[in-house]
């Protein structure tokens, strides 16, 4: 059974039909890149996968749990699904360490000491062991985004959703974040990435999903999709970005 099950999902914003019957299954350990033009529904799909957005038809399960926007259900889901945002969304009034420890202590009810150990281990993983006591505003964008990854990892999720997490970064800082993602992929973390980093999608991703007009237009193994696109829409898209 797959870790993420998306079945015939439809999503409307008022009259706007944004997702038009999405089907997608993601196995544990897979690295999936979602690509497509602006407005094709990539972020919306991602946000439907952890209960940030409501969908009107179809069904999504993650790790066997049904995804809804009810607070209780979202809180249960948060133990399986982590999310990283383009804008980091760190808590500015807390230090890096406190940012990472907050959810493990108050949601998972870990002891302070245990949470601290986890936080330090996660910071180590993203290469920021020395920033435990810094405030987010003192860090570069790339460092902040790596703290956000550490914060999500501290909840020990089964799958990590990343929505264009390098798009707000200066080009020279993108590499550090991608390196962390690559490491996570190697360790077997399930990753769903909405990304404009086509090279990364091709070289690190297992599978690429091309979305177009609210549908999964084309999907397949990463290298194949780029080398041999089947539809004109994907051909045009690939030519326009590579």
């Amino acid at each position: 059974m797959s870790l993420v099950n998306i079945h015939e999902v439809h999503k409307y914003y008022g009259d706007l039909h944004v997702l038009k019957g999405i089907n997608l299954n993601i196995k544990a350990g897979e690295v999936i890149s979602i690509i497509g033009r602006s407005g094709s529904g990539k972020s919306t799909l991602l946000r439907c996968m952890n209960g940030l957005e409501k969908y009107q038809k179809g069904g999504i399960t993650v790790d066997g749990k049904e995804v809804t926007t009810e607070e209780i259900q979202v809180r249960i889901l948060a133990r399986s699904v982590g999310m990283i945002f383009q804008s980091f969304n760190l808590f500015p009034h807390l230090t890096v360490g406190e940012n990472i420890m907050l959810a493990p202590t108050i949601v998972l009810k870990k002891s302070k000491q245990e949470a601290q150990e986890t936080a330090k281990a996660m910071l180590e993983k993203v290469g920021l062991a020395d920033k435990f006591d810094s405030f987010p505003e003192k860090l570069s964008g790339g460092q902040q985004q790596r703290v956000a990854i550490a914060r999500a990892l501290a909840m020990n999720p089964k799958v990590l959703l990343c929505d264009e997490i390098t798009s707000a970064l200066d080009p020279e800082l993108v590499g550090d974040v991608l390196k962390v993602l690559e490491q996570l992929a190697k360790e077997g973390m399930t990753l769903v990435l909405v990304t404009h980093e086509m090279n990364f999608a091709r070289d690190v991703g297992d599978r690429v999903v091309f979305m177009h007009q609210g549908k999964v237009w084309e999907e397949g193994p990463a290298k194949e999709v780029f080398a041999n696109p089947q539809t004109d829409e994907l051909k045009n898209f690939v030519n326009s970005v590579l």
Partner: protein, 216 residues
């Protein structure tokens, strides 16, 4: 006729000032309490509650404080509720203060990026945990300066309680003026005392505002 020395005038004014301070404190504490409840209610996003609070704010911001005090004092007496001048003053100032504070705080909470709520939600925090650990600590810092700034309006607002017969600084000033026929002297002292009460507040507010702007 009794003679009033400067010392007598100031002494009497300072005694009355205690009531002005007490009334201000009562109104501010009451206003903060009511505003906290209203803010919590507003954050539930319940449309009925939100609508009621909006109406409440409009009514108390859109009518003179003096009318609110009259209504509390004379209005409640008319319907058979005997209310003292002190109680009427505290009640009306509390309502008035809460209406302004809830609006000030709304601004402070709404300036928090939506991403703070979303990140909390994705980490499994409940609504109340998000308020407690993420939203309020940040909003508090932003709200401190304008809230203290507004407290100046509350102190000045207490002067209106003189009209319903409560003896605070302004009322004492009026009484002393009637006894001494020295309006310039008496009211200059009154103004000076109000200034001494208000200036530290507005100064604190300004300093906090600067500090906050710099730390951003």
């Amino acid at each position: 006729m009794i003679e009033f020395s400067n010392y007598d005038i100031i002494r009497n004014l300072l005694i009355a000032t205690q009531w002005t301070v007490l009334l201000s404190l009562a109104a501010f504490v009451g206003g903060i309490s009511v505003a906290l409840c209203l803010t919590a209610a507003r954050l539930t996003k319940n449309p009925v509650l939100t609508g009621l609070i909006k109406f409440y704010v409009e009514v108390f911001q859109g009518t003179p404080l003096l009318m609110q005090m009259f209504l509390c004092f004379f209005g409640l007496s008319l319907v058979g509720l005997n209310i003292s001048a002190w109680n009427a003053a505290v009640l009306s100032l509390t309502l008035f203060t809460s209406a302004f504070l809830v609006e000030i705080w709304r601004g402070c909470i709404d300036t928090l990026p939506k991403g703070q709520w979303e990140a909390s939600r994705c980490l499994g925090l409940s609504f109340l945990q998000t308020l407690r650990y993420v939203v309020l600590p940040q909003a508090f810092k932003v709200a401190l300066a304008p809230s203290i700034g507004f407290s100046v309006q509350v102190v000045k607002g207490t002067a209106l309680a003189s009209v319903i017969g409560f003896v605070e600084l302004t009322k004492a000033g009026t009484m002393l003026n009637n006894a001494t026929f020295e309006p310039f002297k008496v009211f200059a002292f009154v103004a000076l005392i109000y200034f001494a009460l208000c200036y530290p507040l507005s100064l604190t507010s300004k300093i906090l505002e600067k500090k906050f702007n710099v730390s951003r």
